[in-house]
Symmetry: C2
């Protein structure tokens, strides 16, 4: 539990408040900022969320009150950053952020150093949304159904539907409490998980079609080229889930997915299920990451990269 005293006092004093969250918004960024903005407005504050890029389509339903803006209407009394590890994540908005006499940061990322005057940082929190929920409760702020739904989206998406390693008992307790505000979790999950761009699904289909299994089916490799992306009208980001699809093949312990980038580099995602050390695989090629999720980069053709990664991945699943 954070000590919210100083933060509460600063919010009580401010009238014009701008909320900032990171570029390339995800569910936690959009959900935690929208919930905070709604509740601060309900407390009588003038409040907006200042963006510099567009909210992704699947999250736009969270803003039904004109909360997202791209130009600050005034110099704020208070700037609040949510879900931002450091102020490079607010990029071109830094000047507006720091123009406020009081700055504040509410976040669950590990940080290199402070960038706001008042900080509530808890790396053990499952999502920025759970910290915002804690603050709103501490302030006895009004939380309407829409704000509760935004908090649910924040927590549910950042924990991968309560499946990822950052899921805690508190994440489930928060969700249970949010049901009490009348949220429609089925609708929210349909909005957030029910839709994938067709080019992404086509790329994932292709990744499965061409997968190569070896080491008795314990290792799997697949790849995408720039030509594949063109063929499906896909963006680079549409390749992101291919590695999960490949790893999910029954019997596969370790998986690699190779992506040819526009500049010719080959970016490799490595994942394992339960025992293979893919960090060791990545380190052989000057990459790194975690035991079960790592990556590395090759500066050669995709065929040459495949030839190099294959024996290393195979060795990682050896008994």
């Amino acid at each position: 539990m954070q000590n919210w005293n100083d933060i509460q006092k600063a919010i009580a004093k401010a009238q014009k408040i701008l909320i900032f969250t990171h570029v390339n918004m995800d569910g936690d960024a959009a959900g935690s900022s929208c919930a905070l903005c709604r509740s601060l407005r309900a407390m009588g504050k003038d409040c907006f969320i200042l963006l510099e890029d567009d909210c992704p389509r699947y999250l736009q339903f969270l803003d039904d009150g004109g909360m997202f803006i791209k130009q600050a209407p005034w110099t704020p009394d208070l700037s609040i950053a949510v879900d931002c590890g450091d102020d490079s994540r607010i990029e071109r908005r830094k000047d507006v952020f720091h123009a406020a006499p009081v700055t504040m940061c509410i976040d669950h990322h590990m940080k290199s150093g402070p960038f706001a005057q008042l900080e509530a940082i808890d790396p053990a929190a499952p999502a920025a949304g759970s910290l915002v929920f804690e603050l709103l409760q501490a302030m006895n702020a009004p939380i309407d159904k829409d704000a509760a739904e935004a908090l649910y989206v924040a927590i549910a998406t950042d924990t991968g539907s309560f499946k990822h390693g950052n899921t805690t008992a508190e994440a489930h307790l928060d969700a249970a409490k949010l049901y009490g505000y009348g949220i429609d979790a089925v609708k929210l999950n349909n909005f957030v998980y029910g839709s994938y761009p067709l080019p992404q699904l086509k790329l994932e289909a292709m990744a499965v079609e061409r997968v190569q299994l070896f080491a008795d089916g314990k290792a799997a490799i697949s790849w995408s080229t720039q030509d594949d992306l063109k063929r499906f009208g896909a963006l680079d980001e549409h390749t992101e889930c291919c590695i999960d699809r490949i790893r999910s093949i029954e019997g596969v312990e370790a998986a690699a997915f190779l992506k040819e980038k526009a500049d010719g580099r080959i970016k490799v995602s490595l994942r394992s299920k339960s025992y293979a050390d893919v960090n060791a695989v990545a380190r052989q090629f000057d990459g790194g990451g975690h035991l079960r999720a790592s990556g590395c980069t090759f500066y050669c053709s995709i065929e040459e990269a495949l030839e190099q990664i294959r024996p290393a991945l195979e060795a990682s699943v050896a008994p």
Copy 2:
């Protein structure tokens, strides 16, 4: 909350207990029966789970204590059915079930009528596992980490990772409590969701590759033939998730997936996202179901079935 008094007394009196759950076990059947068996054994009871078909591979890790058996070692003092709507779900084991002087049923399905002497039925419970958890707590039964993990699997799978309509605040409260027993939820989710048979993934890939979009991308149709199943070494059950994959295409409101069966019938699954009435579509062809999930059957070629279903689906998404 159930009144567990009579059930507690019957368990206290019994020494030899057999647990029964439905054929084609799912996560709730396996999880709730394993948790109950472990805790009853820890209370000093002789207890087994009597099966008539094999536990699916992805759930076998739940039985690490020889709990699953296929022959009753004795006539039980007490038979307990979990997650069984009626005794047809215990099929060839009915005689053994009813041979016990006391029979009991713990379930969350709507029931046609009683089949056991003592029943604890709650259709509002998210999973049979949540009722078993309630009983174990009411009895102050020992719940070790493995039993808690089995209960988590029961609740997490039956609620579709806390996304389906049967998810309640209580489901999240149960999950939060189960974290207190030291469960490794990441490991469990990897076991349960991390693995799909390659033929299933290949069928889903094919379904996406050949999808036809019409009505401005609001309707989607795809299909599989017996030849497709043979080509991928797939079973009929591997087609089940194809419809979800097709519906998940961004912009699609209503989707149909046509499956050619071994006997030549064409089974059609129909799904919608938010407004299309696919029950009305199904009813045009003597099928039915719900507003957002329905089905019907054609007795013709897959090409003819496609021609008939297409205009009906298109009409369902008309503004």
